[in-house]
């Protein structure tokens, strides 16, 4: 068969690209070896957010007394939470299947390998004018002795764990580690996070990371910073802290040390595809690889590790294939940690901006000055921080922790995409009373 556009991988890059290309009139095929929806829908964003919401609901019920709500005897049925999670996933997968059908995208179940001018799957070879590689990523498993034990799982494995452990040890205090720490700690499981770096989520603004850490500690998470895990023996975890080996017992261990692009078994080396030093498929701003007609988007490129970034990269690729100019702008890509409180950031940190040669000024205010925020999040610390170019007053970055700030970060993204300056932002009206007003007020603190 000959296709205009072949998509390898049905995640947030793949199905977005397939739908968009089919809408533009291309003959499109999408190949998926597991389930529609990719990591995001099956092993990442969607299931974890469902469990986080379950944990949040329990937490609110338990701590409702400040609002006069007493829930009496409270119980948590993890199995039911999983059932809800599974139903959400089923529904979303059906949604994608329906979308593909509606747009006449042919979906093939199987493992694709690339060949010159096309791909082969299930023993058949097909031609394709353009191919999009978007096979996602998998959790990395560091070579720690004893890591094969059954009670040690990665982020995919823990999503299928339906019983609450006596305690949980998480190796890695990044975004994934923090989100699962929040789920389990909120429902009363003692959680310890072993992080090798001096602070959790080291890519975030350090003040934001510190607030997130303190808030998770309030929920019962213990953070051991600068801890390097050495081995697992039985239920014991041995780690090194400041040169000293320590042991702790763990009923369940989550390995959350990062992800790596899924680039193997695709025949990529055989067709001569270039990789970047981090192991991802090397692409330019348009998503083009070194081979004409071969494109890549999402985690396989080793960039961003975000579903929405993958979708956007896919959109850029389809635009370029269909003759519309478009390029990826990673600088304005928002990122969220879906803990309680949430962290939402977009743009440059002060350090990044300074490194790029900007003369920087910053402003920050606590969320606690915002009426809506303290009404809804009593006792919770939060912060909004902005980074500006001191020469032009242009907004360069917004960094927030507190409440459901993920829902308002798009506003900051729009400001960055249009390069708004302090002067223009001052004229934007924010509805009152909303937490978003913090983004207006923070400019009063800029210096």
């Amino acid at each position: 068969m000959k296709y205009d556009f072949a998509v390898i991988g049905a995640g947030p890059a793949g199905y977005v690209a397939a739908k968009k290309a089919a809408s533009a009139g291309l003959k499109v095929v999408m190949v998926e070896k597991k389930k529609l929806g990719g990591v995001c829908l099956n092993e990442g964003c969607v299931p974890s957010k469902t469990l986080l919401q379950a944990a949040k609901t329990y937490h609110h019920a338990k701590h409702g007394s400040i609002f006069g709500v007493e829930a009496g005897s409270l119980s948590f049925d993890f199995g039911k939470a999983h059932a809800h999670k599974n139903s959400v996933m089923d529904r979303m997968r059906d949604g994608i299947a329906g979308l593909m059908k509606k747009h006449k995208v042919e979906v093939i179940e199987g493992e694709a390998t690339l060949v010159k001018g096309g791909f082969s799957v299930n023993g058949e070879t097909h031609e394709a004018e353009n191919i999009l590689l978007c096979t996602g990523s998998s959790p990395t498993i560091p070579p720690i002795p004893g890591i094969e034990a059954e009670h040690i799982v990665d982020s995919t494995g823990i999503l299928n764990n339906e019983t609450l452990p006596e305690n949980l040890v998480i190796v890695g205090g990044g975004v994934i580690g923090c989100e699962f720490a929040c789920v389990y700690a909120s429902v009363g499981v003692p959680v310890t996070v072993l992080e090798a770096m001096p602070e959790i989520c080291p890519n975030l603004d350090s003040e934001i990371s510190a607030i997130l850490r303190k808030e998770l500690e309030k929920k019962g998470v213990t953070f051991v910073l600068g801890a390097k895990v050495e081995s697992f023996e039985g239920k014991s975890v041995r780690y090194n802290l400041e040169g000293e080996s320590k042991d702790m017992d763990a009923d369940l261990v989550l390995i959350a040390t990062g992800r790596r692009p899924n680039v193997s078994d695709l025949g990529l080396e055989d067709i001569g595809l270039d990789f970047d030093p981090r192991g991802g498929v090397k692409v330019d701003q348009r998503g083009a690889t070194n081979l004409p007609g071969v494109w890549a988007a999402g985690d396989i490129t080793g960039q961003a590790w975000l579903a929405h970034a993958a979708s956007r990269m896919a959109e850029v690729v389809v635009h370029n294939i269909t003759g519309q100019k478009d390029i990826m702008r990673h600088d304005t890509m928002p990122a969220v940690v879906y803990t309680s409180p949430e962290v939402a950031v977009v743009g440059l940190t002060k350090e990044e901006a300074t490194e790029r040669g900007f003369k920087v000024k910053t402003g920050k205010i606590p969320m606690a000055i915002n009426a809506r925020y303290i009404a809804e999040n009593p006792g919770e610390e939060g912060m909004c921080k902005v980074v500006l170019d001191a020469d032009t007053n242009r907004l360069l970055g917004v960094h927030m922790v507190g409440g459901a700030c993920s829902e308002m970060i798009f506003g900051a993204t729009a400001m960055l995409e249009t390069e708004l300056r302090e002067e223009e932002i001052a004229e934007i009206v924010f509805p009152h009373p909303t937490t978003s007003e913090i983004m207006k007020d923070v400019f009063m603190a800029v210096r």
Binding site: K325, I327, R329, D389, T392, R394, E417, T418, E419, L420, R421, E424
Partner: protein, 448 residues
């Protein structure tokens, strides 16, 4: 008492100088002799030194302005003094800058056409922040309002600079949407590319560039020395009948001569010096080659003013060794060296860059085997020297041996002289280098 510093006259033919860089700013205290600015004639660059002591009250020009000689460049005095009387009439002025695109409003050409570029750039229709003095036509205002364009920022091409409908059209057809930060830079005179790198092609601050910019290229205006070379080369190729004769000479004698000088403890001379000397020697026998072709007249000079092409950081320069015909080899060598260094250092005087009667150009040290030199009109001949290559040569005894051979290319203006006399000049020249390198012409007179 406020004192102006004027643009000095740099040589007889110079009418204006480019002010390439300010070394002081308003408010600085300067002493007599301090360097105020770097200025550049079409041939070389110089330091502008202060002729007074005091405070810099005002700079009348901006960097890159073309300043007429004898015009006031800046004024020095005591703070608070009135300096209006010194302000030159035609300066750009730093205190009251003209709107960047204002010049287009004096003409009836639409703004888009005045800066028509082969590449994808838009016209700087967005000019100064100040409102157009001649107003905005109601039709233009309405159209601009519908398109969400601020008509106040458009540059008008209507009567007296009035913004009319076509100005709005030109703006809409050629320009991407500008981000807020990019718009500020547009007001500074920068231009947006047709397609920006922002959302839906929006031009971002980082996309904004100098008018006339080209994607993937560093663009600089052609001015100063580059402009002079460009004009002169075009004038040369369009205004003369160039014919190039190729030849070569056996460098053995030159090499032996240089070795002997070293052995005798004499000063070191280069092959190029020996070539220069040989030119002078050959011109003595063929003076018709030492001439200017002036269209209706032919001036054959008694003395040789030898031009030497020099590769300087500012571009090709041709300093002239005046009165070269009477110089000893040592003097000639020293003089060539001195002029070349002055060119490379940028200290060469403009008058040293004109008046040549014959030019020597050498690309041998850069590995060039052969090239066709371009005449330096009104001169009628230029000799190009290539590099050394090993070539077989039949010796007097009939045996073939390998010798170092240096290639030559003599370009002449066929309007002024024919191929045969030029070839005879070359023969004399080659003979000199192969038999009497470094010697004075009188020693070989009569050999021809």
């Amino acid at each position: 008492m406020a004192t102006p510093v004027i643009m000095p006259r740099q040589g007889q033919s110079v009418e204006s100088c480019i002010l390439t860089e300010w070394k002081v700013q308003s408010g600085d205290t300067v002493a007599e002799g301090d360097v105020l600015a770097v200025i550049e004639t079409d041939k070389a660059s110089f330091d502008l030194e202060s002729t007074a002591s005091g405070t810099v009250l005002e700079l009348f020009w901006e960097a890159d302005d073309d300043v007429p000689v004898l015009a006031n460049v800046l004024v020095i005095g005591e703070e608070g003094e009135n300096i209006d009387e010194f302000r030159p009439a035609d300066s750009g002025g730093t205190s009251a800058p003209e709107p960047v695109a204002a010049s287009t409003s004096d003409t009836n050409i639409p703004a888009v056409e005045t800066t028509a570029q082969p590449q994808e750039t838009i016209a700087p229709s967005v000019g100064s922040v100040s409102a157009p003095s001649a107003g905005i036509s109601p039709r233009a205002r309405k159209k601009a309002m519908h398109a969400g364009v601020d008509a106040e920022i458009l540059v008008g091409t209507g009567p007296g600079g009035r913004v009319i409908e076509r100005d709005v059209d030109a703006f809409l057809s050629g320009s991407p949407r500008l981000s807020a930060a990019a718009r500020v830079r547009a007001q500074d005179g920068l231009e947006a590319p047709k397609y920006g790198s922002g959302i839906a092609g929006m031009a971002l601050a980082s996309d904004m560039r100098e008018p006339g910019a080209i994607d993937g290229a560093d663009v600089t205006p052609v001015k100063g020395i580059r402009k002079l070379i460009a004009d002169k080369m075009m004038q040369s190729l369009q205004g003369t009948a160039q014919l190039t004769l190729h030849s070569s000479f056996d460098a053995t004698a030159c090499q032996q001569y240089r070795k002997k000088r070293l052995a005798d403890g004499e000063s070191k001379v280069s092959i190029n010096d020996l070539v220069a000397k040989a030119i002078l020697s050959a011109l003595k026998l063929h003076p018709e080659m030492n001439a200017h072709f002036l269209g209706d007249r032919l001036a054959v000079f008694h003395e040789v003013n030898l031009g030497i092409a020099v590769d300087s950081p500012r571009g090709l320069m041709v300093p002239v060794v005046e009165g070269a015909s009477t110089m000893s080899l040592e003097m000639l060598s020293a003089e060539i060296k001195k002029k070349a260094i002055a060119c490379r250092d940028g200290t060469i005087q403009p008058d040293d860059l004109s008046g040549g009667t014959f030019t020597l150009t050498n690309l041998g040290m850069l590995g060039v085997e052969n090239f066709t030199p371009v005449l330096n009109p009104p001169e009628i001949a230029i000799l190009g020297v290539g590099g050394i290559s090993v070539k077989p040569k039949r010796q007097e005894d009939g045996e073939i041996s390998f010798v170092d051979q240096i290639s030559l290319s003599l370009t002449i203006d066929h309007q002024a002289i024919d191929g045969a006399p030029a070839a005879r000049f070359l023969q004399t020249f080659v003979n000199h280098l192969e038999t009497h390198p470094g010697e004075n012409p009188q020693n070989i007179e009569g050999e021809e």
